[in-house]
Amino acid sequence: METITFNGEHLAAGNWGHFFVVLSFITAIFGAIAFAVHVKSQNETHRQIARATFFIHFISVLGIIISLFLIIYNHYFEYQYAWQHSSLELPTHYMISCFWEGQEGSFLLWLFWEAVLGMVIMLKPSQWQSPVLAIVLLSQAVLSSMLLGIEIPFLTDYKFGSSPFILLREVDPSVLQLPVLTMQGIAKADYMQVIVNGTGLNPLLQNYWMVIHPPTLFFGFATTIIPFAYAVSGLWTRKYKEWMKPALPWALTSVMVLGAGIIMGGVWAYESLSFGGYWAWDPVENASLIPWVVLIAGVHVMVINRVTGSSLILSYLLIIGTFILVLYATFLTRSGVLGDTSVHSFTDLGLSQQLLVFLLMFVFLPVIVSFKQTRARWIYFGVMLVLFVINILVGKFIVWLNLLFLLASFILFIQNFYAHLPLNKKEESTFSREFWMFVGSLVLLLSAIQVFSTTSIPVFNKITASLGMFDWLYNITGLQKFQDMANGNVAQDIDVIRHYNSWQLPFAVIIALLSGITQFFAYKKSSKRALLKNFTIVFITSIVLTAVLMPVFKLWFSTGILLILFLFASTFAIVGNSWFIYKALRFKWKLSGAALAHIGFGLMMIGVLVSSAKKQVISENKLYSYGDNFSASENRENILLYQNQPFNMAQYVVTYKGDTTIGPNTFYEVHYYDTIRDQEFSLYPNAQYNENQGLMPNPDTRHYLTRDIYTHVSLVPKSGEGEWEADGKHTMAIGDTMIVNKSLVILEGVDRTLGDTISKQLAGHDLHIARVKVITGDSAVVAKPVFGIKDGQGIYNIYSVAEYAKIRFNYMPKEVEGELMHEIETDIQPQRYIVMKAIAFPYINLLWTGTIVMLLGFFMAIRRRLKENRK
């Protein structure tokens, strides 16, 4: 093979980057082992070695980030990552967003946050440091392995990880054979001369929410490993209960950050995507919601355990489950398994098997350490390895075998648990706080299970299709569903939003009711009289408040009994917790975190209820009908607006005024006149046109205190403002008429003398001036295109424009079969229009307010628990 030295490449940055990836991988593995050894040996030297390794690991993670950033910042487009995700035009503040457009970059972000969290653990000495960091480093090893991009020698065609430092010419050698190189006579070695710009960052990511949402979400994902690591360390070091105390503030932090990340995603969707809302039950959204809900349940159970000592096993399951669900979410969104059920999942980078191994590793890890005997741990580990090797030898995942092992592992885990931690045999009072918190946590878990199950349809399809039993079940029962399962053809409900809402609404009602009342129960045993008194006050106040709110929100019993019940339940949560802060806590804010979070939750729920139940598509189109073959439910949600033609839409008169292009975005000015309030405003929804992905519209929203008017364009004609389009050449006789651009055009005659309108410079020329009358609606103008001959030979044309009709005329006398005819050439400016959609979201501000209150509540709860731990 010939070796070429390529010119114009900057290989140092990539080499350093790659070096740091390998270093971070090695230090993570070595560090994990060193910390694990220290757990057993308690030898100070081992600890020092482990800590030093962690420092090197931390620095190498920073090294990877700096290398990648330099490549993007300096526009080294020879690197595929920079070429694919950035461009010369990209403003510096969006360069950071390039990190999360690609999968490698988002793994890097995760790696970074986890390293930071590890550093926090490391700087605070505790007996948990070594086991926790060993587990964190194990996950760091797996994460950095995703960035390795190394081919394994004996496994052909399998690449371990996907490196962000790979060169464009390595990914696609065809860049060295570009036709432009041969045409311009550029040598292969100088191919960089033509790679001058990258393909740019997806316009949807060029938004300030997209600068802060992914880092927050990944920070949230990263935090879930800490409570997980504590739980596993508890099993590992056989300190089955003590881990919860230090883990609780971490779990609460995780709830807060992950919650903030998820909600920021909703805000981003609402502010800059055009699917018309903040939540669409998209699998990618659900994937991060599921662990969050499970973690909230987990935090409640941990609090129960802290006070009463019960519910230990459930704490383990929920905290361990949260991290596993985060890994599952990663697998779902990055393995390509979601395929076409989600609009914004990543495509498979060839990492799907590696991700599955990652997932299973952390599923089996807690099971390994749940064995009390060291020998039993090794035996289980051995069986696991054998299974792994069998899978590799067969060359694919043997679904039934792995499922069987998974089930057996789960049973063993529970079994082990009962073996060394006998159950609390004491009867629990139903009049205790812990009982109702326990019920509430399980309802949260149910809610998560429901979302999980529908979101996982594509995964279930893969599983059911590979198990032979469903064909057999179909043959016996004749149920079509079994055949669909056997074929892996099951698809989401046609109306998936209705499906989710009908399940989640009852869950939300129960959770809201429980969060309103549970605080009034005391732990262990409550006084029934005090309880009844508080309950009565809260109940009656909530009923009254609900009755007041119903007309405000225009919610009636006819809208749906369940919705009214939901309104009541959310009100109940707010009133109950407010009363609690007043009555029981006497405004001791330090203790009010939980109550405040519950108030925030209640507000959020009312915001969700009103803004979605009373969401109104105000651009409903009544002008068109699909015809008799279509049902009335196939409603229309877009209107066509011609420029400067007012249109009546609900209580508004809307007018499309025109557009301006700034950078890659075109802004469409839509003027609103509110006929009820006698107010006017303009919205500027914009859109960016991308060759492959088409129109990418961003909405613009008018915010009022009690409602939002949300508007986006759905369709715009491609030609720009003021551009002429050829209409045709028309041969006419004097007196002929035609229709051009919706106007009536009459050729009245041809003059040979100058009128006043034509300059005296043309004196002496042979002139033929057509008189063209243009009638548009009730106005008429005369256009006078000129055909002139200068000095008997120089022919020229002067066109004439009918402004209002947007027609441009050119005239040319012509001889057809000996007769003089008149050729009129017309160009037109097609009428500018946009197709747009507008939605009114009432009381959406309650959702945002509730969110902030809830996050504040979490924050105060974290402070409280940290303070308690310090005592």
Binding site: S453, I494, N692, L695
Partner: protein
């Protein structure tokens, strides 16, 4: 029996119901042939745009209706009427997932659709 046990049993029952509910409400991904066998019933169909047959659309006549010919996995080509605004990258779509039913005139009426566009990476390397 402890009250906790009753709660757990109820929860397990509802949990199983939720999983069954997923399948109860679920639809099926089918080919045109199966959709045509059950006219009026809604399905998911995965199709590819038959570019040669063109796309019939005029926003000024109706902004929320367009017609194209789709080819399913079995190679069957059928006229598809989409009751939606036309996604602007539609001509480039690699794969179009339709949700809808076959009507009396044997056409497929899509009430919703999702298009999968080629990633921006693929085309441009030739365009440089």
């Amino acid at each position: 029996m402890k009250s906790t046990h009753i709660v757990i049993l109820v929860i397990i029952a509802v949990g199983i119901a939720a999983i069954l509910g997923t399948y109860g409400d679920a639809s099926t991904t089918v080919s045109f042939k199966e959709a045509a066998e059950n006219p009026g019933k809604s399905f998911h169909v995965k199709t590819y745009l038959v570019k040669e047959k063109g796309i019939e659309f005029n926003a000024e006549i109706d902004p929320e209706k367009f017609i194209f010919y789709g080819k399913d996995g079995n190679g069957e080509v059928r006229k598809v009427i989409c009751l939606k605004e036309k996604p602007q990258g539609f001509e480039h779509a690699e794969e179009i997932k339709l949700i809808g039913h076959v009507n009396g005139a044997n056409e497929f009426v899509a009430t919703d659709l999702q298009t999968k566009c080629p990633s921006k990476y693929e085309n441009e390397i030739q365009d440089i």
